[in-house]
């Protein structure tokens, strides 16, 4: 017991006081956590207090960046030339692919104009780097080095070179926090690229896994199918790659198949990301034709999982 230690008795509160204070602090901590989880008051306090955290991040980041710079300084000329050649090759091949894409985009626009003036939007991208700071792996957040002063907005979509990463959650002066799509509370409206089947990708809590809900058991889904954003819900513009299907479990007697997919973006591991800057035009314009086809489905990341999962878009 506490009295066994000679010093503990000297506390004026006595051994019982120790336990009582543990209970008190424990209670306060649990209440704080509950309030943070539910979003009462605490997120606001946290938001204010994170301004204090910013200098700490810079201090922690500094040696890492310095080491990176030093490495670049000393990496040999030959390896740099090699890398340069590789990058040129990549640029050329991607340029080639883009040329075709331009033609397709023009064709798409023409076809869309036949469908009554649905303008597809032009997006701009803003470059950002991840702060080199490791957060709690259970927080499902990353920090980027663009903030309020760089016109970052809450809810902006964040992608990396391979796919969708997440969305901006809080904007501070010089940095922002990004909620990753792997967060169990994050829902992303997506569709399967091959068939156009719409569904929602929920985070699973693991960075290598998303789960697709409410896909009918007999729906046409294959291993390795590409999943792209559907553009419903206004947050994420449509057509950006999200994940590839890895596991399909069609259990007998269930209405829906259990489908898992692994995200294409390097969640929380990459260095550079792009913020998608949506032009201030009304997003409804783009959504209009899709809504006409299936009036039952509501736009929004919180779409009811039961709502119209099986409707396939006519090709």
């Amino acid at each position: 017991m506490v009295t066994a230690s000679p010093g503990s008795g000297s506390r004026f509160s006595g051994p019982g006081g120790h336990t009582a204070r543990l209970m008190l602090y424990g209670l306060v901590a649990v209440v704080l956590m509950a309030m943070d989880q539910r979003g009462h008051y605490v997120p606001k306090i946290r938001y204010a207090a994170e301004y204090l955290a910013e200098p700490v991040y810079h201090v922690v980041e500094w040696p890492v960046r310095a080491a990176g710079n030093l490495f670049t300084q000393f990496s040999s000329r030959r390896s740099l030339r090699h890398e340069n050649d590789q990058l040129k090759e990549l640029l050329l091949s991607q340029g080639g692919a883009l040329q075709r894409l331009d033609a397709l985009a023009a064709e798409n626009k023409r076809l869309r104009s036949l469908f009554e003036g649905a303008q597809s939007q032009e997006f701009e991208y803003q470059f950002a780097e991840l702060l080199q700071v490791d957060l709690d792996p259970f927080s499902h957040k990353v920090l980027i080095n663009r903030g309020f002063l760089d016109d970052v907005n809450r809810g902006q979509a964040v992608i990396d070179g391979d796919g969708v990463m997440g969305q901006v959650e809080e904007v501070h002066l010089h940095f922002s926090t990004v909620r990753l799509i792997s967060d169990p509370n994050h829902a992303l409206p997506v569709q399967i690229n091959r068939t156009g089947l719409r569904t929602i990708a929920f985070g699973s809590g693991e960075t290598g896994n998303l789960s697709l809900t409410s896909v009918p058991r007999e729906a046409d889904v294959r291993d390795g199918d590409l999943i792209v954003t559907s553009g419903l819900g206004d947050r994420f513009p449509g057509g950006y790659p999200v994940a590839r299907v890895t596991v399909i479990d069609r259990e007998e007697g269930k209405t829906f198949a259990q489908i898992e997919a692994s995200p294409l973006a390097a969640l929380g591991r990459g260095r550079e990301v792009l913020l998608i800057v949506t032009p201030p035009a009304e997003p409804e314009l783009e959504l209009a034709p899709e809504l006409e086809q299936e009036p039952e489905s509501e736009p929004g990341p919180e779409v009811d999982p039961e709502g119209e999962p099986g409707v396939t878009e006519p090709e």
């Binding site: 602090y25 259970f138 927080s139």
Partner: protein, 164 residues
Amino acid sequence: MNSRNDRFTVIFVTLVVAIALTLVPMPPLLDLMRPYWVALVVIYWSLETQDKISLGMAFTLGLALDLLTASLLGLHALSLVIIVYLVARFRARLRFFPPWQQALSVLALLVNDRIILLWIISLRGEPLPSLAFWLPPIVGTLLWPWLFLLLDHYRGVMRHRSLR
């Protein structure tokens, strides 16, 4: 009075280093194994000093850690308060354990902490983590004897300097 202040400076510096080690980016594999640095340092100081780390201090430290690592506010506060309480309670015994036995007690403390974290994760309705979840306590235990020696050495150096 002056040596008291020095003592606090020493504790403060080690805690700051522990927090930096928590935040510094690591390759994914090492990130999975990252020990709970702040807890290890806090265990050391509550073992070696009498009530230098009060429950209130552990709580405040935990809140700061929550803020910096963007975890649920109160998560680390709860865990550090419990660790400090347990160490204070069994301090007399823990202090005179041989090193390997002390390392085992540290393992027990860290595993207990992981169990509390698991409880919070399940309360939040998140899926249960993979087996790698249990790596940090093991790594922490393996590091404990070396960390103990290092901190002892550091403390000795600082004390020597303040005496001069």
